[in-house]
Each structure stands twice: as C-alpha cells, then as structure tokens.
C-alpha cells in the first residue's frame, strides 16, 4: 500500500487488508448535492476502487455555501454536478475510477447500474427516490445508507438486507410534507455530520466489518444540541412489502413513481405524484413565503414564484411548472419543495 493511505491503514480495523478491500469495491452514489459531493470527496480520498455518481442537476450559486468540491467557476460554467464532482475528484486522486451519470434516478434508470456494486449511498433530497433505493437494495441484496438533513437537523440509518429493518418498515408511508432545504434552509455542519456517519458506515461495509455497523437510527440537531440513537431491532416487519416474507418491491413499479408530462405548446411541465396527496396549502404557502417565494393562493391552489420560475401547486399534490420543457428539471424543482 502506498504512503497516501498510511494514516488509514494505521487504523487497526482497516489495516492493509481493509485498504485492499476498499480498493476492490464499487460504490453507487445517488445525488451530488450537499450529501453527494461530500460523500464523493470522502470516497475518493479513501481510495475506493470505482465510484458511480448519479445526479440530474447543475451547479448553482446557492449550492456553494454547503456543497463541497464545487467552485465559483463551476457555477459560471453551469457544469452538471456529476461532471463537476468527477473533475474535482480526479484532481484529488487519479487512482479512483469515477463514472458521472447526468440523469434522473428512477427505478428504471438505477436498476441497470447495480451489477458489481457493493454499496449504495443515499444523497438524494426526497423520500420517493429513497424508497426506490430501498426496494432496489432489498431486491439485489446490496446494503444502503440513508442520510438526510434540513436546517441544523440530520439523520442516518444503515440498511443491511436480511439483517436490519428497511426504510419501508420504519416509515411505512412516505411522510407528508416535511421541511426541505428550500423551505427550512440548511447549515453546512448538519450536512457534515450526516456525511461523516455515512462515511464511517461505508468504511465498515467496504472492509466487511459488519459487527461494527451501527445498529440504531441516529438523529441529531446541532443548533438545539440534541442527539439520539434509536434502537430498531424489533421494527422489522415480516409483512413488509419491501423486505418481508413476500416482497413485491412496490416502489419499483411505474405506478408508484412521480409522473412528469410536457404540456404541448405551453412551455410547462405537469408533475403528478403517484397517489393524490392532501397538502396543507396554507402551511405550505407560509413556509414558501418565508423562503423568499412570491406566493399567491386561493382555497384550491398555490401559485409560487422565485427567480423567474413559477409553479402552481394543487391540493392533491399535482403541480404545473411554467417556463420549462425539461422534465427532469421540473421534477427536481417539485421534489426540492415537496420533499
């Protein structure tokens, strides 16, 4: 092993053998935003063999406050995040093979990527994609590490198929209307704690030290100085449709995915959730108003506008994104606001 990893191999649970294992593994990282860029940097520095990064977005000025790797030049060049991450990671460690995929992560687009993957790291910004990852993990018996953050709050949980409960056991339904970074803001230290936990779990899984894997669901709030690691041993459900005795992997079916359609001749994309939601439009309007959106509303819909982009949101969760024909951009906007 070379000098580069000397301080990592000195750490006994890794050692030279662990470093060789890390070097031989392939990680799939879904998302190259705040959690994603920091995870990509970590894995590159740690000497992962191959890293595939999937992201649908490009670098914007408002990302620089918390998204590692990216620079002002990337913003000027409007680089896709996956490409920008690859470029910067190459400067850090030429030994690592990095594959950048600029695309929307869905059941259909992600499943073909799983061949030879040892671990999936969640760096997405919405529960729909996480439930897709959760089902893919169970179907293909690949561990994944959930991570999420908003404001000063973060949480993380490691899912090992056949051992731990899965995210569907814990959440049962996709939570309705949580806070997102676009409504509650986000401070960079909250990102870092989540990433650090994901990174430590990743190292354990990559060196196959499964006894060391964290059992609990960890939550913290750095501003309110709260921390809890919640045991989940009894939460595994035999009838869970994702990890139970007769799994159907419900989130892999197209009916359970958010739909986007370009509305002909109108420069508008319609986004439709898989099942009708019951949004609290007044609360959402207040949150978005506090977040710098211009909000107009009536009892049936909200119209919100910011930086030239306008979205109309109906109570059942359907939305029209005006001024674009890019379905993936429209879906990103929608999920950034609605979680």
């Amino acid at each position: 092993m070379n000098e580069r990893y000397s301080r990592q191999t000195l750490f006994h649970p890794i050692g030279d053998r662990g470093q060789e294992k890390i070097r031989s593994k392939h990680v799939l990282l879904i998302g190259a935003g705040a959690l994603g860029s920091a995870n990509a940097e970590f894995l590159t520095r740690a000497g992962i063999g191959k890293l595939t990064v999937v992201d649908r977005d490009y670098v914007e000025e408002s990302n620089l406050q918390r998204q590692q790797l990216y620079t002002e030049k990337d913003v000027r060049d409007k680089l896709p995040k996956a490409e920008a991450a690859k470029m910067h990671c190459n400067d850090i460690n030429r030994e690592v093979e990095i594959e950048a995929l600029i695309m929307d992560g869905t059941a259909q687009s992600l499943e073909p990527l799983l061949e030879g993957v040892s671990l999936i790291i969640d760096a997405t910004d919405n529960f729909e994609t996480r439930m897709v990852i959760n089902d893919l993990s169970q179907k293909h018996r690949i561990p994944w590490i959930y991570g999420a953050c908003v404001g000063s709050v973060g949480m993380t949980f490691t899912i090992i198929p056949g051992v731990t409960p899965c995210l569907n056991c814990l959440l049962r339904s996709i939570p309705i209307q949580g806070m997102t970074c676009d409504t509650g803001g986000i401070i960079s230290p909250a990102v870092q704690v989540v990433v650090a936990h994901q990174a430590a779990e990743a190292l354990k899984i990559l060196v196959e030290d499964f006894d060391a894997v964290r059992q609990g669901f960890t939550t913290f709030d750095l501003w309110r100085n709260q921390y809890q690691s919640m045991k989940v041993g009894k939460a595994k459900k035999p009838d869970c449709l994702s990890c139970g005795d007769a799994p159907t992997y419900p989130f892999l079916t197209p009916e359970n995915a958010t739909k986007t359609t370009v509305l002909c001749g109108r420069d508008t994309v319609q986004v439709r959730p898989p099942k009708p939601r019951r949004l609290q439009l007044d609360k959402l309007g207040n949150d978005l108003n506090g977040s710098g959106y211009v909000v107009k509303s009536n009892p049936f819909l909200l119209s919100v506008e910011k930086e030239g982009e306008r979205m109309v949101i109906f109570q059942d969760g359907r939305a029209l994104i005006h001024g674009t024909k890019d379905m993936s951009h429209a879906k990103a906007m929608y999920q950034r606001i609605l979680g």
Binding site: G31, G33, A34, L35, G36, D122, A123, T124, D125, N126, F127, R130, G147, A148, C149, V150, G151, V153, G154, M155, P165, L170, L171, S173, P175, I176, Q177, G178, M179, T180, C181, G184, I186, F217, T219, D221, R224, Q226, Q228, S229, M230, K231, V232, G233, K234, A235, Q280, K283, G339
Partner: protein, 77 residues
C-alpha cells in the same frame, strides 16, 4: 409520569424540550393526540416515535416511567 421529548422544530413548537404527562397504559397514538391538543402542535402524524430509545409505532403502549421521543423525519440532502 411519562416523559415526552421534542426533537428539532417540535421543540420550538412545543416551547420546551421536554414535558411530563400523567398516566399509564396509553398508546403512542393517544399520547400524540393529547399533546397535539394540549400544546397546539399541528402535525404529529408523520413523526417518528421512540419509546425508551427504541423505535415505536402508534400502537405501542406507553407505561409509567417511560420516555417518549418525537422525531420529525427530514428529506433534504
């Protein structure tokens, strides 16, 4: 006495980090309803619950001396 802890923005909504409630043999769902009513917290529907630092659901029974924590899941990244 059952101790109830509020995590993240629930702490602000509740106006305090922890409260005690009287009683025994409630379900988590009943605790949620009582607290939502008493403290005027709108949404404990999609909140995760831990009882004595162990994952719980709406049907879990809460007994004297237990600590119930409400943790709102987040989706950002």
């Amino acid at each position: 006495m059952v101790k109830v802890l509020f995590f993240a923005h629930l702490k602000d909504e509740a106006g305090q980090e922890e409260i005690s409630i009287e009683g025994n043999g409630f379900t988590v769902a009943q605790v949620k309803d009582k607290i939502a009513a008493d403290l005027g917290i709108a949404t404990l529907d999609s909140v995760m619950t831990a009882v004595n630092e162990e994952f719980a659901n709406d049907e879990t029974i809460v007994s004297e001396g237990d600590t119930v924590a409400f943790i709102p899941p987040v989706s950002g990244g």
